[in-house]
């Protein structure tokens, strides 16, 4: 045996052996050496594994959803183009103007007894190209339950339907049992709660200002880029957001802000910061009281990407149904429900008033589907055997979705660590996936092992957004253990 301390494996020779570039004599000599040198033998083993894995890496193709990225990249391209033009033309022009102003002042200086202050560089402002204001955005309803009305910019009032887009300057008022979800842009939507009254003060590509007059509005906002704003105005306060899932409620003259994810800043009419909330948490503006959040916030339906119209699914009010769960959203079953869903098979889950669940698959054509009462009756009576039949999904398919989804949960953990630096542990999530691959329910199982409740809630909410390959039949349920660890 050759002493490993004094011996360094000859990588080049081993690589040549592996690549079969050695002569017969060289090969034989190296093999004789390998029989006596454990270190070289180990290195060769590692080299062979590396060669094989390198081939596997080269054969792997990344799964990137470019379509989802498309709109964001267009916006970035626009912003970059604007910056570039500014740098190329406006800044040099401004510099020339300033230089000219300075020169002018210097030239005039000897003739004046007292030094004059530099003229305000009005010319600078003149040469800056006027920033074209972004066009207003037409927002689409993605779900409507009960009755709501919209007041147009001309003062005309009409009943809100799923097909009626809403625009900047309009106001929406909801009945006491109604709920409206509006998609405002890529990955951005809001859900208006019962009896809410809101004004769509500004709906622009990079700026959304909502006036909340009554009730509550829950928002899901994509991560905003510098210069982009999403603000809810209520009771003279402005609730601004930095990419988050949050809710603003007006109750009499109390303003309540609940943040499930992200960071929200509340400012008063004088633009003073009166509070900020990092989710998960809540803030009572009048009293300054801070607390956790009791229950997961409503998930506003984004429903598709801008430029595409998903078909509408309409469900009648049904006395024995307490809650509808459709395409990842949950609605109380009071009043007629209309919502946008992807065309194709959609799993419709009805939680009956006696607590039982009825699940069925409906095929939604591109032109939409209105489920009539008799059809619904038949659907809800669909045989239970079929409903109980479980779908199938390979473990690696589950693994890859869970692994891909973990970075999305990272934020929850990081925020939690800010409040409790010692949080770590394990928890097991029981995840129910419907036939189409959408997560319908996430529940923590057993002891959460010291993981705080708000962190569990945040992780649950994140896991609800995961999308699995369709398992078919009535979906599947499985357990996913999550480990939380950090270094001090």
């Amino acid at each position: 045996m050759i002493a490993s301390r004094a011996h360094e494996p000859k990588l080049r020779a081993l690589e040549a052996l592996q690549a079969q570039r050695l002569s017969a004599a060289g090969r034989a000599r190296l093999r004789r050496h390998l029989e006596r040198c454990e270190l070289c033998e180990t290195t060769l083993r590692g080299l062979r594994v590396h060669t094989q894995l390198t081939a596997a890496v080269r054969a792997s193709a990344p799964q990137v959803d470019f379509a989802r990225m498309e709109l964001a990249m267009r916006q970035h391209a626009r912003a970059a183009a604007r910056r570039s033009r500014l740098t190329r033309f406006a800044l040099p022009a401004a510099a020339v103007a300033v230089a000219a102003a300075v020169l002018l002042v210097l030239m005039l200086r000897p003739t004046q007894r007292t030094p004059q202050p530099l003229a305000r560089p009005a010319a600078v402002q003149k040469v800056s190209p006027a920033q074209p204001e972004a066009a207003s955005v037409v927002a689409m309803l993605t779900a409507l339950r009960g009755t709501a009305t919209v007041v147009g910019t001309d003062g005309s009032e009409q009943r809100l339907t799923l097909d009626r887009p809403v625009r900047e300057g309009e106001r929406i008022a909801l009945a006491a049992d109604a709920e409206v979800h509006v998609r405002l842009g890529t990955d951005t939507a809001m859900a208006l709660g019962p009896a809410a009254r809101v004004g769509l003060q500004r709906l622009r590509e990079h700026e959304t200002f909502i006036d909340l007059l009554e009730g509550s509005v829950t928002s899901q906002v994509r991560h905003l880029q510098p210069g982009e704003r999403y603000v809810v105005h209520a009771l003279g306060y402005a609730v601004s957001v930095v990419g988050t899932h949050f809710s603003v409620s007006v109750d009499d003259d109390q303003l309540h802000v609940a943040v499930e994810q992200g960071h929200v800043v509340v400012t008063d009419a004088q633009d003073r910061v009166v509070g900020d909330v990092i989710g998960p948490g809540s803030f009572e503006v009048a009293t300054g009281t801070r607390a956790g959040i009791d229950a997961a916030l409503v998930k506003p339906r984004v429903a598709g990407v801008p430029g595409t119209a998903w078909p509408a699914l309409s469900l009648p009010q049904w006395p024995s149904v307490a809650t509808w769960q459709v395409d990842g959203s949950s609605f109380a079953a009071s009043g007629q429900l209309a919502m946008r869903v992807p065309a194709g098979d959609v799993t419709l889950t009805a939680q009956l008033t006696d607590g039982r669940l009825r699940k069925t698959l409906v095929r939604v054509p591109a032109e939409g589907l209105r489920v009539e009462e008799d059809v619904l009756r038949r659907l809800l009576r669909a045989n239970d055997d079929e409903a109980r039949e479980a779908g199938t999904l390979k473990p690696d398919a589950i693994m890859s979705v869970v692994q891909a989804g973990l970075p999305g949960l990272q934020r929850c953990y990081e925020l939690s660590l800010k409040q409790r630096p010692d949080v770590s542990g394990r928890l097991t999530l029981r995840i129910a996936v419907d036939a189409a691959g959408r997560v319908t329910r996430v529940t923590p199982r057993g002891d959460a092992g010291g993981v705080p409740e708000d962190l569990v809630t945040c992780i649950r909410t994140g896991a609800e957004r995961w999308r699995f390959p369709p398992p078919g039949a009535s979906g599947i349920t499985f357990d996913a253990p999550i480990r939380l660890s950090h270094q001090h």
């Binding site: 494996p9 017969a24 093999r31 180990t42 290195t43 083993r45 590692g46 080299l47 062979r48 594994v49 590396h50 060669t51 894995l53 596997a56 890496v57 080269r58 792997s60 990344p62 990137v64 959803d65 470019f66 989802r68 990225m69 964001a72 990249m73 267009r74 970035h76 391209a77 970059a80 183009a81 604007r82 570039s84 033009r85 740098t87 479980a390 779908g391 199938t392 999904l393 390979k394 473990p395 589950i398 693994m399 869970v402 692994q403 973990l406 970075p407 990272q410 929850c412 990081e414 599947i476 349920t477 499985f478 357990d479 996913a480 253990p481 999550i482 480990r483 939380l484 950090h486 270094q487």
Partner: protein
Amino acid sequence: MRVISSTAALGPTTSWLRRRAEPELQAIMDPLDPLVRRAQAGDERALHELFVRHRQDVARIVFRALGPDGDVDDVVQDAFIQIFRSIGRFRGNSKFSTWLYRVVTNVARMHLRSRRARPQIASGVAPEDAKPASLADGPEQEAERHARLRALYRQLDQLSEKKRTVLVLHDFEGLSPAEIGEIVEAPVLTVRTRLFYARKELYAALATDPVLAEVAEQVREAASGGANAGKRAGSEP
């Protein structure tokens, strides 16, 4: 072609001359893509066209740099934001593809750096744990392959940033040391040294990784089978 030869013939002592001549020669040898010029001029469509044209390449580079569990989508997006921001500074002194590699590699490296600094949230799901009663048993090759790649990148995480970058660009992307030198802005000799030590450390780690023990056994058997076959062939009269 003649122009290229004459540049090479200038020799190391006249590097100042070469540097002075280079932009002009470069323009003849490898004129800037009109699309890049338009993008530099602030043409929004050209920037978007750059995204469409290069997104597959960028995704591949990012994927190979980060591994199967990386946030490829996010990093690809960040890389393009960076490309859009800094394209104005691309002077055409290197090939556009080299510049692109440099930007993307840097973004991926920054991402890896921040990932290392972050607290870890990980799934404790081993394939057998994740298997519900209703799951179909079938060939698990894909899962195995995924687990092996994950093991590889776990070992890559142990390498220093510089060694890892060079190894990924050379072994996974198939770039030459000279090209890598341009990307990481280091002499070719330095690139070769980093590659040597990266491989040395990685081979030792891969040989003892328990997840990869089976792979090691398979390749050992395949190699010994080949060697025996060779011996047999050699011993035949």
